[in-house]
Amino acid sequence: MDWYPLWNSLRIALISCAAVFFLGIFAAYHIAKLPRTVKGVLDVVLTLPMVLPPTVVGYFLLLLFGAKRPVGIFFMEQFGVKLVMNWYSAIFASIVVAFPLMYRTARGAFESFDETLAWSAQTLGQSNSWIFWRVRMPYCRQGILAGTVLAFARALGEYGATSMIAGYTPGKTATIATTVYQLWRTNDEAGAMRWVLVDIAISAVVLLAVNLLEKKQKAGGRK
């Protein structure tokens, strides 16, 4: 059995999850502080990729990064990099579809933060970055952890936009999701089933790990 799709899916999910972690927290932190009307508009724009069909996301990505489109041409000419139909093209797709999950859960967590904690830390002389990492993030860790897991799971399961921007090339752009479809389409039902089981196993392990982590944290807090 060729394990390339597993390796490819994992690296795409991990890289895009890491990117979404920082992008989502950054956006959530700054947007949570904005006035309500601005927040409402930004919220709609940033959440759209979650509700749009993935093919629409893929369409927009191709419109932007395609070989004959401005950004695609720029990268080709400046760096000799082709943004579409490569293994890393799927990262763009995963980031866009996973971002709203991280952003929304993190924003909810930041909005429930007790601002007097930050104020008292300021009067105690602590810097704003200390407050962010030592008070705000630990306080909001449940929401941020939940957002990260959701984003990872979504990135791992991404199919629609990925198939449009990265396609399916065995040993190059194949991911678990695209492989399952390809194998099933070519009547290799047993092969498709193998990858389905792999995918279920990964997802179960991730969710189990998160549950254990949460339990451990709760127990630690009670000590």
């Binding site: 007790d114 104020w119 008292s120 105690l124 002389g125 008070v135």
Partner: protein
């Protein structure tokens, strides 16, 4: 050691115009909720930026809108105790206190001062606990320790007892009282409770609708609140509308006889205040006699409240009588009350 505040800030519904000075004693800011007291503390701490004005602490300008000075809270050297204490829930008592020692770089000194503070605030046994495992009083001691360990120039307490159960309150209050008495610098206590202000602070400022109505020593303000709002906030139950007759006489609405006052009655005096404890039963025809009709009475653990009406039924009069014992019966309702000329407060 002194604090000078003169700031304006537009808020929802009203404009805060706080102007007062505080010396090196404990000063109370007394006002109803939503009058701008907490906002004033936040402006002094630098958490909220006033629209205009000036804040000077011990000769150091913290904020000056004309000179464009606005020090961040980190550089102001203020200690602010929040109503909910704002302890960091993810840190132990000891770690919380160490957060107040940001300015001290030497690790050994940090440890020593933290240990000293734990001892002083009787928190040694709780050093490794998380805030969620502490009682309200312990949480407050931890929050105070975290503030005091950094040796602030000013100590500001925002409704420090409102989050405590009432049976704990008196005990914690006496601790805070001795702490305030021993604090070397300016201390501000924000409260809506006149008794706390009276017991804990020698100076006070009365605030209403974003303005400082009256400042002075606590005893002065309670004896002569000057305005109707200040009288009400200091707990005066009987605020009786009146018209001025001359410099020492008024005529109360609802009663015919004129009332003599020891204090001078200002030209635009519209009411007088008589504290519910200051009424005494008297014979009809005595000086300052107010004939009344009894309406109702209610019993408190340690005193009786009796309510009366003026002869024409327009104005209410409260009478408070301390009980000698818990089971003491209600006092007989008199036909007539007299208020000593010295205990009548002219109000505008």
């Amino acid at each position: 050691m002194s604090l000078e505040v003169n700031i304006t800030k537009k808020l929802d519904g009203f404009t805060l115009r706080a102007e007062f000075t505080a010396g090196s004693t404990a000063t109370a800011l007394l006002g109803a909720s939503g009058c701008g007291k907490s906002m004033t503390l936040r402006c002094i701490a630098g958490i909220v930026k006033p629209d205009a004005g000036r804040i000077v602490l011990d000769g150091r300008v913290l904020f000056d809108s004309e000179q464009h000075i606005d020090l961040p809270p980190q550089q102001r050297g203020v200690g602010l105790l929040f109503q909910n204490y704002a302890l960091f829930p993810n840190m132990t008592v000891e770690q919380n206190i160490l957060c107040g020692l940001k300015a001290e770089k030497d690790k050994a000194v940090r440890r020593e001062r933290c240990a000293e503070m734990l001892r002083a605030m009787r928190l040694e046994a709780l050093a490794k606990r998380c805030p969620a495992q502490l009682s309200g009083g312990q949480q407050q001691r931890t929050a105070l320790a975290r503030i005091l360990v950094g040796r602030p120039r000013i100590l500001m307490l925002d409704e420090p007892f409102s989050a405590l159960d009432s049976y704990l309150r008196e005990e914690v209050e006496s601790e805070v009282g001795s702490l305030l008495a021993g604090f070397d610098g300016t201390a501000l206590l924000v409260t809506h409770n006149r008794d706390e202000a009276y017991r804990l602070c020698r100076e006070m400022a009365v605030m209403d609708g974003g303005r400082v109505l009256r400042t002075g020593t606590t005893k002065e303000v309670f004896a002569d609140p000057q305005s109707i709002t200040a009288a009400r906030l200091t707990g005066c139950k009987n605020i009786l509308p009146c018209t001025r007759v001359d410099a020492h006489t008024v005529r109360l609405t609802g009663w015919d006889a004129p009332l003599r006052l020891a204090a001078e009655v200002p030209e635009h005096c519209t009411a007088v205040g008589i504290r519910a404890h200051d009424l005494a039963p008297c014979a009809p025809g005595a000086q300052n006699a107010l004939p009344v009709k009894a309406v109702s009475s209610s019993e408190n653990p340690f005193d009786w409240n009796l309510i009366f009406l003026a002869p024409d039924g327009t104005t209410r009069l409260w009478w408070k009588v301390s009980k000698a014992t818990l089971g003491a019966a209600a006092p007989a309702a008199p036909q007539c009350f007299a208020a000593a000329p010295e205990s009548i407060m002219p109000l505008v």
